[in-house]
Amino acid sequence: MSTGAKKRIMKEYGECMADTPPGMKINFDEQNMTEWEVLMDGPDGSSYAGGHFKLKITFPNEYPFKPPVVSFKTKIYHPNVSNDDKGSMCLGLLRPDEWKPPNKVVAVLRLIHNLLVEPNPDDSIEPSIANEYKENRKEFDKNAKDWVKRYAK
């Protein structure tokens, strides 16, 4: 990773600290600055309220010319998070063809926060969960809450 990229990540960390999205805490390790651990509370009023989620944000070598990679380390029942051991997300800003180098991690964190408040079933990675979200919100809510109880307490 270039010194330019490192400089930028440092600067972004500063920005994130000054303007952390609600309910998020960033664990930053200067020795390994390309991997951030984010602790996040399920937003109040959402299906994930009361849950505590651990996320990893990885900066690729080509950062900021390629987007950071987000993965949920805590299992979550969500149409936009893959239901496997990767817990990956791939939509909006996080897609290589959408990401522009001036975009910032803080925008990514906001995107994640917003998606927990309001999932985006039209750009889903888990079609069956997206379908349930659209067709049977009650069942979806129940499952999402169930998973919060099981995995995110």
Binding site: G4, K7, R8, K11, E62, F65, K66, P96, P101
Partner: protein, 517 residues
Amino acid sequence: MDSDDDFNSSQMSDEDIMGDQDSDVSVEDGLPPAQSMDQDDVGFESQDKDIMPSKHAFDVDFTVYSPQQIQAYQDKQIEDVSSILGQPPEATAILLRHLRWNKERLIDQYMEKTEDILESAGLGETAQTHPPRLEKVAGFVCDICCEDDANQDTFAMKCEHRFCVDCYKQYLSTKIKDEGEAARIRCPGDGCNRVVDSKSLDLLVGEDIKDRYQVLLTRTYVDDKENLRWCPAPNCIYALQCGVKDKDLLQIVPTVHCECGHDFCFGCSLNDHQPAPCALVKKWLKKCEDDSETANWISANTKECPKCNSTIEKNGGCNHMTCRKCRNEFCWMCMGVWSEHGTSWYNCNRFEEKSGTEARDAQAKSRQSLERYLHYYNRYANHEQSAKLDKDIYLKTEKKMTALQTTTGMSWIEVQFLDAASQALQQCRQTLKWTYAFAYYLARNNATEIFEDNQKDLEMAVENLSEMFEKPIDQLQGLKVEMLDKTAYCTKRRIILLDDTAENLKSGNWEFNVSLS
């Protein structure tokens, strides 16, 4: 590859590569001419493709083009349109790419609402004025790398999204080299859709990236044209043109033959899969993938989950099964829902419960359909495997024959019959393989009997020829005539089968047990 000639059609389709019939571009081509180049003149003028009969019902008309030819056509088209619009070639190229090379639509739209189309193509305002240049700007901080050195060069297009030149360069090379983008690279500015034009690009990147950019632009030209396709063979440089449209693919299987020797389907770019139509091939491959653990299926230690039908292997003695896929909990013994079992953990005494009987019936049915599938799959897979074995044996034989040439004084020409036989075997097995996928989906009617006979005859011919490769090497020379006969017979049986299937497909005589659309 003699037999190949039969399948090569040199007729042009009704549309030429540029979409205008009266083109008289002459092409400087440093490469050996593609197979139907000498027919080009005829082709560009001929508009009567339907009058020209193909040799076989399964042949389609196609032409092979080199990248140089494609580039030349592209340049010519840009030049023509550039003079009509009064826009410089760089801007014209962007406009044409923006409208996916639909020249008529571009001219119409340009005449009607010039500003709108320029804006939507990312050219905005007047594209002609001020050529792009690097600038030093006092107080500038690059929003990508955060560098604020007042001496650094910066660049921005008309949209004024300014970045330091290093970041701009890095951005372009990432897009071009890593992501293979060219025609529609957008300004790096957040939310900006302006397309980076080739003049700006020239100013910013080095020669190697410019070359790559040109290659990619030619790629998008072919990708944008419905009647053009790149040969999918690795490292092959040719593009093929064929008039078969997506909507025709239920009536025809358009196998084309590239200059490099690769036979592929123009409809889906997969390897030649005649006689099976693209839609069946797609279904079949999907099915084979889903059922990849076929062998397990049949073994007594697996059952299908009564809810989602995925395969479950029993490990250990407990009858309480949980499907890994749908989390359905059921009883191994009776296939019934586990929750109905109460506390009878080790012994199932609920064999007659309704949920269990239904599940067992469904299981039996699914076994039956599985066995039907396996019947066809095994034969399909067998020909795929045998084609590889045939090739191995041939390669070994060829080695021995080379040795024999030196000891017996036989000439290279004299051993060519082996090569021809091997090629024919490969081709026939490829066809046979797909006849089994085809047959799997075929619903019985009065056309199927002839098909099955043809399949059997071809199969027999192939096995007879294949056997000959197992003969001791010193006998092979004496078997030359017999081998030549058998090779010709295989090829003939293949043509008969493909002709029959293609004709029936064209006239809609096949009925399938799945919907193709």
